[in-house]
């Protein structure tokens, strides 16, 4: 068996490494990959006072620190028996939705849109944010920059800082919103809604208006009939901050709905030989390998999955877009991985509208911003929908509130098995006997990756083009390098 390593520069500790195992006939046997290692976070959280975890865990990832901050805040609420006050919860949720909108914007305009707008076959040197701006005009670029800057201003108003916000405390937040701040938050939320509609307009024109692209989305490239997971509110509508976890089967029927506290009963984390990554699967279905279908416990999370797992959106504009999405794509559930990009825009609109709704609630400036801890319970689980999938923080503490155990399932991890499956599809046929790699491999692998928006640090480095990738084909037995292709960004 030969081993192919695709190595997006291992400069960060154990960062995003893909290993393709090829048998003697040149057939792809299996594909494993790993997301950024946690730099020891689960270990070094142990021994810290639990309230610090809201400010330690965000440092796992500078792309989605708000998700860790909120999951941690909720787990800490539970560790202290502190139910958030209405306003405390609202302020957290505003911050969180503003962040989700900003993150989806970055992904769409910086990572995904260049593929579509400039064209997937265009020279990589043009297929980047600068090429995008050249195509749709500089005002669009200006709008994207303003969207990011304003959203982060909102995060800073409520969170105290923009990257790595600090302001949650057990039972709520540490600082009330002043009248002036509330006015600014409203203004930003209005802009976010306007921006989301503008983004959808671009998508309509450039992607839906081009039958080639629609075919590309609908083609079964990377399509997998899997289970789907997402957090839903009491009406089974998408909610990023709070709710139960709902899973639907490959036919779109509810398979199970469970409270965050019960996650260990429903999700099993599998460790594969040769891989140091865990592959979570649905306990109730069981592990059948890297395959899709109703009998396989492989599930997916993130935008595509969230829209499939819910019955709709709780805000009017997003609901209309949700309906159009399923009508256009042939009904529920949508299995086509590339549709994730559209799903992300539906969510962008929802997040913006949700921020707007909450910002207009008169209670938003109330000073009843946090409750008081009722005692130390010894355990807490916090779940939010991170942009890249359901995020679980689970802590145990001693009687003084010092952490004794910490388990994290980060968003991308939910999709590990599915990403491996998509990568395998991409790699099949592109690796020939003798270790020859055909040109298209890097592009195909990259497209497969991008749809999932894995939180690879390197996937976010695409300001100037594609992901840095390095492919080495080796004889597994001798380790001899047969062939290498590399591309740095």
């Amino acid at each position: 068996m030969k081993k192919v390593s695709i190595d997006p520069i291992t400069r960060l500790e154990g960062h995003g490494k893909i290993e393709i195992f090829v048998d003697d006939n040149g057939e792809v046997a299996n594909v494993y990959f790993q997301i950024p290692e946690l730099r020891g976070f689960e270990r070094f959280c142990v021994g810290r006072p639990v309230e610090e975890l809201a400010r330690i865990t965000p440092r796992i990832c500078g792309v989605c620190p708000e998700a860790h901050h909120m999951a941690a805040a909720k787990a800490i609420d539970a560790c202290y028996g502190a139910e958030p006050t209405r306003t405390g919860k609202m302020l957290r949720e505003i911050l969180y939705n503003a962040f989700s909108a900003a993150d989806h914007t970055t992904h769409f305009f910086v990572l995904a849109a260049p593929d579509f707008v400039v064209g997937p076959m265009a020279d990589p040197a043009e297929r980047n944010i600068l090429g995008l701006i050249a195509k749709v005009g500089p005002e669009a670029g200006g709008k994207v920059i303003q969207m990011r800057a304003w959203s982060h201003e909102l995060i800073e108003i409520i969170g105290g800082r923009s990257v790595h916000p600090v302001s949650t405390v057990p039972g709520g937040v540490s600082k009330p919103l002043s009248k002036e701040e509330a006015a600014r938050v409203k203004e930003i939320a209005d802009y976010q809604v306007e921006f989301a509609q503008f983004a959808i307009e671009i998508f309509n024109q450039v992607v839906l208006g081009n039958s080639e692209y629609v075919d590309l989305i609908m083609s079964d490239m990377y399509a997998h009939k899997t289970y789907y997971m997402g957090v839903v509110d009491e009406n089974n509508k998408v909610n990023f901050y709070d709710g139960d976890i709902r899973v639907v089967d490959p036919d779109g029927k509810e398979f199970v709905k469970f409270a965050p506290d019960d996650y260990l009963q429903h999700i099993t984390e599998r460790v594969e030989p040769y891989s140091y990554l865990v592959y979570p699967y649905l306990t109730g279905v069981g592990w059948k390998g890297f395959v899709d279908g109703k009998d396989s416990g492989v599930y997916r999370a993130a935008p595509l999955a969230r829209l499939n797992a819910a019955d709709g959106m709780s805000t009017p504009l997003a609901q209309a877009e949700y309906e159009r999405y399923f009508e256009t794509l042939g009904g529920k559930p949508v299995h086509a991985t590339l549709a994730t990009h559209w799903a992300r825009l539906v969510e962008l609109l929802y997040a913006a509208e949700r921020t707007q709704d909450l910002a207009n609630d008169p209670d938003v400036t109330s000073t009843d911003i946090h409750s008081m801890p009722t005692g130390i319970t010894g355990e807490g689980i916090g779940v939010v929908e991170a942009p890249r999938g359901t995020l679980y923080h689970h802590y145990k503490t001693d009687e003084n509130g010092f952490v004794t155990a910490c388990n994290l399932i980060v968003g991308t991890t939910n999709n590990n098995a599915a990403i491996s499956m998509s990568l395998k599809k991409a790699a099949q046929g592109l690796i020939q006997p003798g270790g020859e790699i055909s040109e298209g491999l890097l592009n195909e692998v990259e497209m497969a990756f991008r749809a999932y928006d894995p939180c690879f640090g390197c996937a976010t480095h695409t300001l100037f083009g594609e992901m840095p990738l390095e492919v080495a084909v080796r004889e597994q037995s001798t380790g001899e390098v047969l062939n290498t292709v590399r591309r740095f960004v």
């Binding site: 400069r11 440092r59 300001l463």
Partner: protein, 250 residues
């Protein structure tokens, strides 16, 4: 003379500092691009390129011996090296593992011996190469970074604060955390962030590290006497972003 060439490199970190730098908003960002040329990552990263760089920004900790060669190469090519973000300046949050020796097993179990998981203690990049300027913070203060670049463009020495966060906290008239029955490390933490955390009702955790020669025994005494910490907790408190400094003083 053409515009100075600026390049960005990263090592073990969360990349939050890079993200912070993308949040300037249109005006300062585009204005900056009028004065410097950001060398494309592609060019900057290709090992074969030996093109000189005027300013190299390095993010992330030095935590693997195998990264030393890459750091040395950057040093050779760059006229000025700026370590930016706490990971790069002091090891930052990554150094929180330095006093533990089982974290790899904890995270990876029996796979922990795989060579690509190779990881040693985390230090600032100056453990491997000479650093000219330090932009502290987790993440950096983007306006401070802008100031550093502006000073360098004008041939001036950047001013990096060496006074405590309390100074900036008083300046913005925030009620002290200790008066609210809380704790804080602002009196030994390095200023330059404008003290946003106490202003948001959260203690300063010294994410920019300590001032030079911090009085750690005094900090611990205050945490015990004013905030009711146990001596053990008071000692551990300083570890969050400043583990290496703490080891050096104790």
């Amino acid at each position: 003379m053409g515009k100075p060439k600026v390049a960005f490199f990263d090592f073990a970190c969360c990349e939050g500092c890079q993200i912070e730098m993308t949040n300037y908003g249109a005006e300062p960002f585009l204005e900056l691009l009028n004065h410097v040329e950001i060398v494309e990552f592609r060019e900057a990263m290709t090992e074969k390129t030996t093109e000189p760089i005027d300013i190299a920004f390095i993010e992330g900790s030095f935590t693997r011996e195998c990264d030393r060669a890459r750091l040395e190469e950057i040093r050779e090519r760059a006229a000025i090296v700026i370590a930016y973000g706490q990971c790069a300046t002091t090891g930052g949050i990554n150094a929180l593992k330095n006093h533990q020796d089982d974290y790899k097993e904890y995270v990876y179990g029996t796979d922990s011996d795989m060579p690509h998981l190779d990881s040693q203690k985390a230090y600032g990049v100056d453990a491997a190469i000479k650093v000219d300027y330090y932009a502290y913070g987790c993440p950096v203060n983007k306006y401070e970074v802008l100031q550093i670049v502006l000073h360098l463009l004008h041939g001036k020495e950047p001013v990096i604060p060496n006074y405590p966060v309390c100074v900036e906290c008083k300046r913005r008239e925030t009620v002290c955390r200790f008066l609210e029955g809380d704790h804080c490390m602002g009196m030994v933490a390095r200023a330059g962030c404008t003290a946003p955390c106490p202003a948001a009702g959260i203690p300063c955790e010294a994410c920019r590290g300590f001032v030079d020669d911090p009085n750690i025994p005094a900090l611990e005494k205050v945490l015990v006497e004013q905030a009711g910490f146990t001596p053990q907790r008071a000692h551990e408190k300083g570890r969050m972003f400043t583990a290496n400094a703490l080891e050096a003083t104790s």
